[in-house]
Amino acid sequence: MGPSSLAAEIPGSDMIAYLARRLVSLALSLAAASVAIFAVIEVIPGDPAAFMLGLNASPETVAALRAELGLEGGPVDRYLAWAGGMLTGDFGVSYTYRTPVADLVADRLAVSGPLALLALALAAGLALPVGLLAAARRGRAADVAVMGATQIGISVPNFWFAMLLVLVFAVNWQVLPAGGFPGWQAGAGPALAALILPAVALALPQAAILARVLRSALIETLGQDYIRTARAKGLSRGQALRRHAFRNALIPVLTILGMQFSFLLAGAIIIENVFYLPGLGRLVFQAITQRDLVVVESVVMLLVAAVILVTFLVDLAYAAVDPRLRHRA
């Protein structure tokens, strides 16, 4: 009789090994994604320069653009140059804006990043207490109310919420701006004020989804044997919910949170349009309509990297929550 050999290892070594495995898989995913993106955009559809210039371009302008974009040479050399440039922060120069893509993306991230984080914090801050309440009062009035409200939150499109918010807070009460972004150089106050309504509009549907996921995860967890054990120890229903069920229900919630952050970063394009915010979503949209492949390629790579990074962080969060996961590959 003795604890399994895993426990005999040095404390913390599990976590370090887990981290090492995850980091290797992170690097491999990034490399694979970059190859796929490069292949789709630069190799498969023929000549990017001709595509970007449209049908009426003269052969001379196409040749000039080819030289400017560095399209001479084999695909392997070009991929290495592109990937190497990205690693050193050189994303190339936008064809339409005539500025380095890195500067362009940095400007837009300064809006989209805080917006996504704010929306996510709002969604989580709203969903956690609401989901806990609904699970604790399962089948009673509070639960029915929460389920009804979240159903509305999921089914109503967020741009409609956005317009409603503008009407109330910007037009009627005039406490918050209706749109536009003054930039961070105008001070944190006005910049944040410009982000509040879009963040709320983005957060409400996400909060509704998150609250429902948390509620159903909690209800499933409350049926587990260890909750009965906790009650037999003398914990009240509420104590068992907070001390034992909540952490066990966090895994599905973390999964959804990770997916939502990735979505909010680039998927906010409709809200960015409603509030006229210079965000990443609008940048990609414009780049696609203007056939600015240099920008499209870089931003897509950036978003893929963000998704992979968030997935990595979610994996770390799983392991922090659940000791059993630290031993798995």
Binding site: P3, R228, K233
Partner: protein
């Protein structure tokens, strides 16, 4: 002095009566057994005392415990009582602990939640209590998580949690049913030791008459929500005044009528296992270290003749299930070979060969697709041989053979009880006329009376169809009742092999001796 005086306990859930007029007395420091089959209301009685009945339950009656009526207390008062004055442990130790909390925190929580100690102090008490239940700090630090412990060790943690505040009453609901016999013996020893040492009373709920006979001073027999007989254990078990008690005893000692085993020797073996080796890859100990291997089946050899009943016994983790999977041709071996009627079996085997061996599993609830009708479930093995045109007639005949009506084929599996489902599983195995049926703990989840009926059915089918059985079980008495020969497996090896009666009455190998000694028995002179 009487610690608990229960009178006229009635419980109904959603209007359906569950318990009717249940009552008993439990003296301080005494052990009382509550026995009966599943659904008789044993656990409901315990949950009613704890105030932990499912929602929608209505309770009437009176339960005087240390001067208070448990059934009339408020939820707040009950929270103060549970874990402090009444501790409880449950059947399934694998899921009874919170997987995300260390065992130290979970034991300490009993003290913290009752305000009996601050955190640091509570951990000290937790360490001391864990040591008392057999988990000393040098080998089982407080920082361990439940998944790092075996089932028996986890049950010890549950016991430490339940007795952390030295309650006056411990309710143990089937505490050893999910454990192996040797672990069961250790846990029962631990419980009786704690009861004697701390002057604690214990209400021991079990379906196992032998466990009660060795542990409890008093016993109450429950049937269909009522106590039909109660008294001193020896008197109740010797006289068996109530008909139900008599039937329970008869069923637990039941041995089906079996024809003598076929004369061995001439016929070539039906199943031949020669030097079988099966290994599993374990997780790497370090990021770049090679995978270590676990040898679950380690050079096993035996032969099974046509029409023979062979028992395979051993505790969980000994390799029984791995060997079963290899015999069924589900997994490839890493060494040795398995032949069925002279032809090697393995993952790529011919369907016609696969049709010659069928299997019945333990869990009558998990081994059927709930969305299929019974006729489709029973006819499923036909995919091996091609479905004959008269398949519905054959399904009807198979259902009749296992004691069901041919019309049952149109029903869904949820309409059947556990025993009936096991009959359907047997019909499914029979339908393509196999030579060998592997019975993997096939009666372990059944109540004694249903188990006796299924054993009779298996004996009759063996007689009429000339079937061979490989009967895998941890229950020595059942193996003894239905097999000719028995193999004892330990740590991937067969350690003893011989006639069932001889091996189980006069075991030669130390491990078999240990198994036989650990198996609870009703004293011979009570029978």
């Amino acid at each position: 002095m009487t610690l608990l005086r229960l009178r006229d306990l009635d419980v109904a859930i959603g209007g359906t009566p569950i318990l009717a007029g249940v009552g008993f007395d439990l003296a301080e420091g005494a052990v009382m057994g509550l026995v009966g089959e599943s659904g008789s209301g044993k656990s409901m009685t315990a949950l009613a005392l704890m105030g932990l009945l499912p929602e929608g339950a209505t309770v009437t009656g009176r339960a005087d415990f240390a001067g208070r009526d448990l059934l009339a207390l408020s939820e707040t008062a009950l929270c103060g009582l549970r874990g402090r004055e009444i501790g409880m442990i449950f059947q399934e130790p694998m899921t009874a602990l919170n997987p995300l909390q260390t065992i130290g925190d979970q034991v300490a929580e009993t003290l913290i939640v009752h305000g009996a100690a601050r955190r640091a102090e509570a951990r000290g008490v937790a360490a001391e209590r864990l040591a008392r239940v057999g988990l000393p700090q040098d080998r089982f630090p407080l920082s361990l998580y439940p998944h790092e412990l075996s089932g028996g060790q986890r049950q010890r943690v549950c016991i430490a949690m339940a007795v952390a505040l030295r309650p006056k009453l411990l309710i143990a609901d089937e505490p050893t049913t999910a454990l192996d016999v040797t672990t069961q013996a250790q846990i029962l020893d631990l419980l009786t030791g704690l009861v004697a040492e701390e002057r604690m009373a214990m209400l021991l709920i079990t379906h196992d008459l032998a466990v009660v006979s060795g542990t409890a001073d008093h016993v109450a027999v429950m049937q269909a929500g009522r106590i039909v007989e109660a008294g001193a254990t020896e008197a109740v078990f010797r006289t068996r005044a109530h008909d139900y008690t008599r039937r329970l005893f008869a069923a637990s000692a039941h041995r089906p009528d079996r024809r003598p085993p076929p004369p061995g020797g001439e016929a070539p073996p039906l199943l031949e296992v020669r030097g079988a080796v099966r290994e599993y890859r374990l997780p790497r100990p370090g990021p770049f270290a090679p995978h270590p291997a676990l040898r679950a089946v380690d050079g096993v050899s035996f032969a099974l003749g046509p029409g023979e009943s062979l028992g395979l016994v051993g505790e969980s983790g000994c390799g029984k299930s791995t060997l079963t999977r290899a015999i069924l041709g589900l997994d490839a071996l890493q060494g040795g070979e398995i032949r069925l009627a002279g032809v090697p079996v393995g993952p790529g085997m011919d369907p016609a060969l696969r049709a010659r061996v069928q299997v019945v599993f333990q869990d009558p609830y998990g081994s059927f697709d709930p969305r299929w009708r019974v006729e489709r479930l029973v006819a499923e093995p036909f995919h091996l041989t091609g479905r004959p045109d008269d398949w519905r007639d054959r399904v009807g005949a198979a259902l009749r053979e296992v004691g069901l009506a041919p019309g049952d084929g149109a029903k869904f599996i949820h309409e059947f009880s556990g025993g009936q489902r096991q009959r359907i599983a047997i019909a499914r195995a029979l339908i393509i006329r196999p030579d060998l049926i592997v019975l993997d703990e096939a009666v372990s989840a059944l109540d004694v009376r249903v188990r006796a009926q299924i054993l009779d059915l298996l004996a009759a089918l063996q007689d009429s169809h000339g079937l061979a059985y490989l009967f895998i079980s941890h229950d020595l008495s059942v193996v003894r009742a239905v097999t000719d020969r028995v193999l004892v497996m330990q740590a991937g090896r067969i350690v003893e092999d011989g006639a069932a009666e001889a091996v189980l009455t006069a075991p030669r190998h130390a491990y078999t001796q240990q198994l036989v000694a650990a198996t609870p028995k009703i004293p011979e002179d009570w029978m």
